[in-house]
Amino acid sequence: MTIKISVEVFDPFQEIQAYQNARLSNTGAVGATSIFIGTMRDFNEGAAVRGMNLEYYPGMTEKQLDTIVTEAQRQWHFIDSLVIHRVGDILPNEPIVLVAVWSSHRGDAFDASRYIMEALKSKAPFWKKELLVTENERWVANNTNGYTTG
């Protein structure tokens, strides 16, 4: 189980490939891999957005992500997981978050990755400040519930 906070832009596909090669290439137990990648949009709440800054709480953020993954391990059977989250200055189209879960069966991979992602959105201390095309800045007030708003 690996959790990374990245100040630099990252390529989620390269990260997955490297992680699989390093950690999972010798196991024949993986039957399912679920991958979620969140990327930055250039619009939000009716406004054009040209960038954002993502603040976090060093120490607590990692601790909360670790608690979330540990809880997912308690509820589902999976072999490994990789969570990467960007912080700092981010541009549209850049990845913000990667959640990858490897398991023997698809149910565990789907459900554990969904749980990790939803729990991250509501519990991990990150805060987005958007820079609008109009040059105004605004803090994102709250996250939506991914189960009800699509």
């Binding site: 976090y56 959105k121 990150f126 007030a141």
Partner: protein, 77 residues
Amino acid sequence: MSIKVRYFASLKESVGRSEDDLTFTSLLTVNEVWNRANLGKSLPGNILAAVNMEYVDFDSIVKDGDEVAFFPPVTGG
């Protein structure tokens, strides 16, 4: 006793600083820590609190050396 108080994101901007060092002699709750550090400023209703990087209720007791943090709802992912 002494504790560190930290503020993040929009709350950091509205209080105008990122942290306080607070000393006190009696036991305090998290809510009382806010009041001591922010005299006369009411705590915004949606603010969350953590002690030593774990979420807590506002009536939790703070101990010597603790780090208390206040911040708005999280918006990562």
